[in-house]
Amino acid sequence: MKKKRKLVKQIQYEIFFLPALIAFTTFTIIPLIKTIMYSVTDFNGISHEYRFVGLKNFIGVFQDEVMRQALFNTLFYTFCTMLLINCLSIPLAIFLDKKTKLKSAERAVFFFPSIVSALLLGYIWGYILSPLPTGAANSLLGVFGLSPIGWTSTSWGARLCIIAVAVWTSTGWHATVYLAYLQAISTEYYEAASIDGASKWKQFTQITIPLLAPGFTVNTLLLLTNGLKVYDLPYALTKGGPGFSNYTVTQVIIQRGISEKQYGASTALATIFIILVMIISCVQFMTMRKREEDIS
């Protein structure tokens, strides 16, 4: 009787889980299975007839120069943004934590870029970084008698511009996450450290940084996953150019699948990428967790 009541209670709880499970299965699990299924076929998205082609599409991914370039760009973008945003947002969070009269305004100013669509920001920055003399940045250079610069006209120029805009966009948001963790640190630690004669720098390295470790884990995971699936900003700023030098993996997946109707090749790249993201995320999460445990 007791067992039955426990089971009924368990089922009652499980019912609440059902809507989320249905939504997750419909919009994530089924498309994922279909993606893996199409990756071993020559499906073109139009014809109902398609055949099994084995691992041909997967081999093609590694032979395709565009896909290799996209993979490099995506990893480079992810690594650079993860590093730069973390390095900038921790000092920014400490600055925003200070009790000044303009505290709210300062926080709003740094948080604002992250609420605007990345696509929109890409187009705005496209105007600012225009290679023509009429572009905003080049107009400014012109005031000082300098020649216009083709900011996004070379592969590396465009790559660095994309990273710079991404860092400008996201630093404020990630600083807010650090700020939340920063405010959770009890002032008693700092008071005790001061009494013991610890310098400000010592307090920062021995108290602030270790206690910010969970925030670092969260931010790094978010930056990693967002970086690996980046599409909108590079596309809006450079359309992936010049040539295909700044294509990202997502852009290639969309282009190959939707524009070129090569669903087989597109889904093969998507499958490889899913596995890669899973591995990187797991390794990163486990490493961070271990580090957090070591620190605490």
């Binding site: 020559d42 998205g45 970084l129 225009s130 996004t152 150019g241 010049p242 030098s245 070129e260 109707k261």
Partner: protein, 454 residues
């Protein structure tokens, strides 16, 4: 217990209302399925500008020829509701008992994707548009009705170029009635200022004009090389290669020729003539088309490559601007950029073929052509209506009508989108100097080999 009963009743009511809500909205949101098509469409599906109310239509005297047709016709439009309004109004006036279930998807990628999904899932509209980007998929997938024997195709109303562009194996699948044109837009006042009295007729003359402008301290020309339809190399291919061998593309697909053999010439002419001489700079690859048009309209550059869709923009920025569109001169003759616009198709699985055919017949009639010119603004090439073209573009339209234009995407027999992307990427890389013209051309051979092997 009482609380549980009340909770259950409330949950049941909420679930019921949610399901009812779903059922009620479905009719408006879902694309009109063939089985439902005989039902009048909901108001939400009607374009605002269309005279929708049946009562109003009944009050006015309807033309006798359209009275016998009735039902709902679903259209997935390439043009938005405002642009389509004159066409839908004129159609409604002719067929008062036919209701149009109008859907719009912005071109190009979104439109192609939405149409593919609808057709693949068997929920395609009765009428939709064929573009160069989806031509091959629609024809190969048997999604479109053969229009070869329709009166407008046989009586000379629709020019042969339409049948070639949107046809296969001698069959015509799409009714396109207009075209767009493009070429070199030049500022007449700047030309006068530096003493250029005539349009350059050959490639060498164009280079001389560029040098003259450069010597005078004026930026000769701008192009960002982001458009496969409007650039220097496509018209040069038309004049230098295609004009000498009309079957060259077939030869490439048959393995008798290569892209490298044929495209290296126009790409080299462009690279050595304009880029190596500094008339076009690699920096421009990062500029947007809007910025280039603005630079032209404000007199910062003497020439740009552009198309008829920018006439209004230029006129808005500088209404007094004195400019004209000329062709891209080759070694012997000038070719323009341009193409037949998108065309209407009938879904081969449509349950409303009679209504769909009536719509296409109307679209090819003089009143239909006039309504399309008013709404869409394309340059009519079908017989039956001749609009007054803007002075700046008049010569360009005449030349395009005569076939003096080249757009690769209309000429490539298959894998158009893959080749288009490779082509434009190659040109950009060539412009910034990372590859040679030969390598840019050879990339298309590699791409064709790659996609045709799949």
């Amino acid at each position: 217990m009482k609380r549980k009963v009340i909770s259950l009743i409330l949950a049941a009511v909420m679930l019921g209302s949610a399901l009812t809500g779903c059922g009620g909205n479905g009719g408006n949101e879902a694309p009109a399925a063939p089985a439902e098509s005989s039902q009048p469409a909901e108001d939400a599906a009607e374009p605002e500008a269309a005279p929708a109310e049946t009562e109003q239509a009944e009050e006015t005297a309807a033309p006798a020829e359209g009275e016998d047709l009735s039902g709902t016709l679903s259209i997935l439009s390439w043009y938005d509701e405002t642009k389509a309004a004159p066409v839908l109004e004129a159609f409604k006036a002719k067929y008062p008992n036919v209701t149009v279930d109008f859907q719009y998807s912005p071109p190009v990628a979104d439109y192609v994707e939405k149409l593919s999904t609808l057709l693949y899932s068997g929920a395609g509209p009765d009428i939709f548009y064929m573009a160069l980007e989806n031509r091959e998929d629609l024809i190969k997938g048997n999604y479109v009705e053969d229009l070869s024997n329709e009166p407008y195709m046989t009586d000379g109303t629709i020019p042969d170029s339409v049948k070639t562009t949107y046809g296969a194996d001698g069959k015509a699948y799409s009714l396109a009635v207009d075209c767009w044109v493009g070429g070199i837009f030049y500022n007449k006042d700047i030309f006068d200022q530096v003493g250029i009295t005539e349009e350059p007729k050959t490639w060498d003359e164009l280079l001389e004009v560029c040098q003259k402008l450069k010597d005078a301290g004026i930026q000769p020309i701008m192009d960002n090389c982001q458009d496969a339809a409007v650039n220097f190399t496509a018209p040069l291919y038309g004049s230098e290669v295609k004009a000498g061998n009309a079957n060259i593309v077939q030869d490439i697909y048959d393995g008798k020729a290569t892209f490298k053999d044929t495209w290296t010439t126009p790409i080299t002419m462009w690279k050595e003539g304009l880029i190596d001489n500094g008339y076009l700079t690699a920096d421009m690859v990062g500029a947007t088309s809007d910025e280039i048009v603005t630079a032209f309209a404000t007199g910062q550059v003497a020439m740009i490559l552009s198309g008829s869709w920018n006439l209004n923009t230029i006129d808005t920025i500088n209404p007094d601007m004195n400019y004209k569109c000329m062709g891209i001169p080759g070694t012997k003759e000038s070719y323009y950029c341009g193409a037949i616009n998108v065309g209407l198709c009938i879904n081969s699985a449509s349950q409303n073929k009679e209504l769909a055919k009536a719509f296409l017949e109307f679209a090819a009639s003089p009143e239909g052509l006039e309504a399309q010119y008013k709404g869409y603004g394309g340059f009519t090439i079908a017989d039956g209506y001749t609009p007054d073209f803007p002075e700046e573009i008049k010569d360009a339209v005449a030349n395009v009508k005569e076939g003096k234009y080249y757009i690769p995407m209309a000429d490539w027999l298959s894998y158009t989108e893959s080749l288009r992307l490779t082509y434009i990427q190659g040109l950009q890389d060539c412009m910034v100097g990372t590859i040679t013209p030969e390598e840019a051309a050879a990339r298309m051979d590699d791409k064709l080999a790659e996609v045709s092997a799949e």
